[in-house]
Symmetry: C2
């Protein structure tokens, strides 16, 4: 590569707009420059590129093992949902109808088919066939699949697209108690995934009625807070109760021979969480990936001239070999790019640790580890590199979480009056306040501030509603939302 080409490449990399200057544009540029995703030639759709998909695979792997260890099996249900199914549960129908895409009716088709906006109806029609006795319960099925919701709002890669990927778990139980335990179990597994793997702290609580999943008794949501002052729902776990059991006639015979309706849950997490990872941890140099979900945890960059090339590449290959048993490492031995160019590129892609190895390092039997999050450079003895790398990854994972947690804590503010609430929302805060429980107050807040109740912290017997001043029933979190 010539000096001129290199300069152009560097400029290209540097063209990322600062996060503080235009957050939304920074996000759009970063997602594309880090090769996470790209706009598709279909309005509203995205292409998840290999690097972005590899992050999704990390998330899938962690969660899939977790749910399988707690009684869930995977399956695959059709993309197509008969229209009559969507009509069966009226709340569910009204909730999803505006966003449903339909298949053009074929000559031989008896009815209209929707592309699944979620799979409760198609799955529960089968559950009604499969469940006969208490022996068939609990039934816990998950699927990893694509989902279609024809959004009309502007497209945002990962965050708002007409097709996205997710997992949806659907369980049926003999008792309400088991059902509620399941809802909590999955919510807690999501919390662990989001907090320990994605390094994003969340507030977890029930949704208000207006934000509850269409057809559920209640929804537990995991809410994260983005640097631009907006809440982002990371995952939800729904207690469906017996709504769907009634309309799909899902009954079982209990041990005493009595026929009963099952109790159900559903729960999901989608590729939009990757968008949250980008927003929470990314910086002006590009993506910053938590080591636990990084497709490449460490990149080895050999630094050499013509005289030292052979030796440095040999040592680099040895180092890769030594590390790859325990870590995801990549040796960037491309001869056509300079080390500086590579530094920029891997910083843009958010690789947690850069390992530099040059002739002097080899002489001193050392390498240099560079942390992506804080830029710290640390010479490490060759004999200690595995230990040092493991430690650096752990520290970075912790640091990202700690920073995000501090940001969240610093941005949750209590409001006692509606004026305070308005001001805090305007100042991009998440607002903790008393609420009377009436949807009128929720709606008024939305109208005046565009903020909604992200979730309920808990019940309270004291305090007054921040909107109407009447006695409060719950303490809730208000924020603008993605």
């Amino acid at each position: 590569m010539t000096k001129k080409q290199e300069k152009t490449a560097k400029e290209e990399a540097e063209r990322l707009i600062p996060k503080a200057e235009d957050f939304s544009e920074w996000y759009n540029q970063l997602v594309q420059k880090a090769k996470l995703a790209d706009y598709a030639p279909i309005s509203g759709c995205m292409i998840i590129r290999p690097y972005g998909f590899a992050i999704w695979e990390k998330i899938q792997h962690w969660f899939d093992q977790k749910i399988k260890a707690t009684g869930v099996t995977n399956a695959y249900f059709p993309l197509f949902i008969p229209e009559r199914f969507l009509h069966k549960e009226s709340e569910h129908f009204e909730g999803f109808m505006p966003e449903v895409a339909w298949v053009e009716k074929k000559d031989d088709a008896e009815e209209r088919y929707a592309l699944r906006p979620t799979s409760e109806t198609i799955m529960y029609d089968a559950y009604a066939k499969w469940i006969r006795s208490w022996r068939d319960l609990p039934l816990r099925i998950n699927q990893w699949c694509n989902i279609v919701r024809w959004e009309v709002k502007a497209t945002r890669l990962f965050l708002r697209t007409r097709e996205f990927l997710w997992q949806e778990g659907h369980t049926a139980h003999a008792t309400e108690e088991e059902c509620e335990k399941e809802v909590a179990l999955r919510a807690n597994q999501y919390k662990e995934l989001v907090e320990t793997q994605m390094a994003i702290p969340v507030i977890m609580g029930k949704k208000s009625k207006s934000e509850t999943f269409a057809g559920a008794d209640y929804t537990i949501a995991l809410e994260a807070f983005m640097p631009d002052g907006r809440g982002l729902q990371m995952a939800t776990s729904h207690k469906l109760g017996q709504h769907f059991a009634k309309v799909f006639d899902i009954k079982f015979t209990d041990k005493e021979g009595k026929e009963k309706l099952v109790w159900q849950t559903s729960w999901g997490l989608s590729t939009r969480t990757i968008g949250a990872v980008v927003m929470v941890h990314g910086d002006d140099k590009g993506l910053v990936l938590p080591p636990n979900i990084a497709p490449i945890q460490a990149v080895i960059i050999p630094i050499y001239d013509n005289d030292t090339k052979k030796k440095v590449l040999e040592e680099s290959a040895k180092l890769r070999k030594k590390l790859e048993a325990k870590f995801s490492v990549y040796l960037d031995d491309r001869d056509s790019y300079s080390p500086g160019w590579k530094f920029n590129e891997w910083e843009m892609q958010g690789v947690p640790i850069r390992i530099e190895i040059g002739p002097k390092d080899i002489k001193n039997r050392q390498v240099v580890l560079v942390r992506r999050d804080i830029g710290e450079k640390k010479p490490v003895k060759e004999s200690e590199v595995e230990h040092a790398l493991a430690k650096a990854l752990d520290l970075m994972q912790e640091n990202l979480y700690r920073k995000a947690k501090e940001f969240l804590s610093a941005n949750i503010k209590d409001a006692r009056t509606f004026e305070e609430l308005e001001k805090l929302i305007h100042n991009k805060k998440m607002v903790r306040a008393h609420w009377c429980g009436y949807s009128e107050c929720e709606e008024k807040t939305k109208e005046k501030t565009t903020a909604t109740i992200r979730c309920i912290e808990g019940e309270t017997k004291e305090g007054k509603c921040v909107v109407c001043g009447k006695p409060a029933k719950t303490m809730v979190y208000f924020a603008k939302a993605y």
Copy 2:
């Protein structure tokens, strides 16, 4: 469970029609009774149930590791394909158009969208954007996804459905030589997958022009032979050459600065292969799974009465613990079913090894291993159970392959005249014969016998076409096909 209930359950299990009596009906019953898949409430669609999906996960896991170790990364492209894309490559368009399902046009849509029947076009539009220089090559991307082809023929679970799951690999290369190497590499990986994991021997060769993938230079197919005398295509690897590169304008600048078109391949394997596993290995008792793709490799069945229950269950749990580090084992300790009932159920589900453990076995410090394929019962010392189980699984894997290979060899017959060919096809054989290379002879064969050329064995300079008698160019395999 009462005696009467047990009898009913046993009858239910036994109701599988013999394989030799009505092969097609046997297949339909088996797929449902073994809980592999079920008909969906949408005409032409299937539900892949957890047990069937677990087999797909085994196949995915093996192949995904294999392709990742040879330079492939996964990604995800949209389900929707703009109509104009499908029109770009005329052969491709004509090949898929009859089976395309379309999305109902929304008010704001500028064009019509197809549901992907395959993803060449949507992927290569992106490749044209991403590929700039020789440094970007080879580009190798795979995706695991759902595919929609609106079949009009009768539905067959796994074998012919309007939606199915597959992987599709799409690569771009700098030279024709690399491109052809890639086509062969993937075909060989499929062969290894199908033969060593699914225990199904295949014939591998190029397709005749009429059966070549729409838009490819040539297609290499892996053809298996089913017990009902029909060929089943297990996977294909296509040399696309520069057809798509031309129409999607996928160019790169080579090391000398010259602009060139890329060379491309695509290759796929779908859930229909599970149908082949069922047909090839299944018997009158149900499914028989090759150990390498069995979700449960061994099932432990405790045999006890009230006096011995505690001890037997304790020892069974110990045994599971001992085995589960190395094998996929399941302990069927359900108290509500008798051992006999369980034997039937697990035989239906094709679990390779049953491990019986009763009071006498415990006294003798042994267990009994029972092979699903040959029914052999073998007492094994407790201390040798891991070794014995590993060996039994290996032997069963080998035995299934050997049997299928013998069946294939015994059913390939040479034909020198068209009359011989007709007779052999009528007698459910796969016919090896000379062919002149002209499509007229292929069409005539199809009209008269419904058999098609499954693949080409190789070129030949001797012999006469089995149809027209003119000098032959190739030796080919004819068979009826799924």
